[in-house]
Amino acid sequence: MAPQDIVTAPALATRGLDKSFGSLLVAGGIELALPQGARYALIGPNGAGKTTLINLMTGMLAPDAGQVLLDGEDITSLKPEQRVKKGLVRTFQINQLFPRLSALEAVTLAICERQGHGGAWWKRLHGYREAVEEAHGILASLHLGENCYRPARELPYGQQRLLEIALALAAKPRVLLLDEPAAGVPESESAELFTAISGLPADITVLFIEHDMNIVFRFATRIIVLVGGRVLLEGSPQEIAADPLVREVYLGKKGHHG
């Protein structure tokens, strides 16, 4: 990495991001700056606008005002697929898999698209050896190697959640936004899932939405608290846990005394 890169802009930043649905404000003046390699948790009560923020960052929703910057570059006008190509990748709270494709096919699909082979219609798929091997490697690293020949819809739910992440990893993210990766997964398995997430390469910037405060405090290095579409607070887990306002608005109900 060249020296000038070290002092460059954060991996992902937003400037004055606004969005309203009619009279309902879902994002108000959101200013964030995620340094490279950070592990951020995005927390907040239901309806705080957490998923909306991911939709705004990834281009699935257009903001009313403000900008999204990836490595200092303004990507606000780019389409979702163009942002993915630049390294901004997300997963979904509700599985968005390819039900009748096998796990291996699905991840190979994502790799071929990343490498620009998605339109290649004359060469056989199994001829793309490196893509297929990379796909198998990603699946194996998430303990999906055994089941990679089964259609996504036949996988146990916990493995489907892992496939959700595998698809995102296939796009070689530099910034990875995980929308409740452990949603619906039993508590006993969610720690395992987050162990897999924390094992991701250190240069990937990760932002995850999660409700379980034990998980948040264990895996996040920074925490953003979102309430009513606005950033209430951003800080280290210690700062967040100690903040009286956060305790009142959010942690109070959970009774967590970190």
């Binding site: 291996l104 998605g118 219609w121």
Partner: protein
């Protein structure tokens, strides 16, 4: 189903492997030359319809793009080949190429609209485009012959040697060979990365942009290819029958090919071919007995298949075979 494979490559290779049933099928396609010589013209029509259904399968069965106006491209191919034959260029092969190019051109233009819609909107848009083209051909009677059809098409012998005979020997040979070659192209395509991307669009169009894929570009491409193949099918009909009537562009043809594909099984390449055989043979047999009741039986069959065999007749057969294998092993 999910047996172990020695390597991921072998698994993908296995998906694309030629099955013995496939080879048997193409050999069986030669049987009419020996056993059903009186039906070679029908066999030729079946091969043409099968090719038309194959082109629809590429967009509907693989990419999940519904169309109720696919006859538009069949008709463009038919008129292109017919007009060439009428105006002094009766060479069949170059006629096919020109017809394919004409259909592809219109398909490419239409694809910019088609790629932006799904579901009901798409059905209405394709239906509308089909109706537009049908009426345009109807009113341009100076060019197309209007409701009387295009008369006076003179085809030259194939390769300058094989005349299009009354018995349909040349017609069926020609149609079958073209069907087979187009099938090889389609088969190659669906086992490529592009084919995988199409299945991705069918399975979850919302996820595609999230893995960095531009669905619209893929849809435009497959729509253009499918239009070209439909154009070839239409051209074959014009060349082997030496007539083009307005019904090549009709709504009925768009609906029929959809029924054929659903009956046979969409997304399986052979579904449209099997559907065409069943549909055309049944129509030939039943309509001789009681023509006005033909669609009664088709309606009944369609309801039964969709209710009990959601993946078509071929899908039902595949399920039966795999459960039978499961039991014996």
């Amino acid at each position: 189903m999910s047996g172990a494979y020695a390597s991921p490559q072998l698994y993908l290779e296995e998906q694309a492997r030629w099955r013995s049933a496939e080879i048997a099928f193409w050999i069986a396609a030669l049987l009419p030359f020996v056993f059903f010589k009186a039906y070679l013209s029908l066999a030729s029509q079946i091969a043409i319809t099968a090719l038309f259904a194959l082109s629809l399968d590429l967009i509907l069965g693989y990419a999940g793009i519904v169309s109720l106006g696919h006859a538009a491209f069949f008709g463009i191919g038919a008129y292109a080949a017919g007009l060439l034959g009428k105006h002094g260029w009766g060479e069949p092969l170059s006629g096919l190429v020109i017809a394919a190019a004409a259909a592809a051109l219109v398909g490419f233009a239409a694809s910019f609209i088609v790629a932006r819609f799904r579901h009901l909107a798409l059905i209405m848009i394709t239906l509308g485009m089909g109706l537009l083209l049908h009426e345009a051909a109807n009113s341009a009677s100076g060019l197309t012959g209007g409701a009387d059809g295009l008369q006076g098409i003179k085809m030259w012998p194939l390769f300058g040697v094989f005349k299009f005979d009354l018995y349909g020997v040349t017609a069926y040979t020609y149609s079958l060979v073209v069907l087979f070659l187009m099938f090889l192209v389609a088969r190659r395509l669906i086992h490529s990365p592009f084919g995988l991307s199409l299945r991705g669009i069918r399975e979850n169009p919302l996820r595609m942009p999230a893995i960095g894929a531009s669905s619209e570009a893929h849809i435009r491409k497959i729509y253009t290819i499918a239009a070209a193949i439909a154009g070839v099918a239409g051209a074959l009909l014009a060349q082997t029958t030496s007539t083009v009537s307005l019904e090549v562009l009709g709504f009925q043809r768009s609906a029929d090919v959809l029924v054929i594909l659903i009956l046979g099984g969409a997304g399986r390449l052979y579904g449209g071919i099997l559907g065409a055989i069943i549909y055309m043979v049944a129509r030939d047999q039943f309509s001789g007995l009681n023509p006005q009741y033909w669609y009664f039986w088709i309606g009944l069959l369609l309801i039964a298949v969709v209710m009990f065999l959601p993946n078509g007749i071929l899908g039902g057969m595949a399920k039966l075979i795999s459960s039978w294998r499961h039991r014996t092993s």
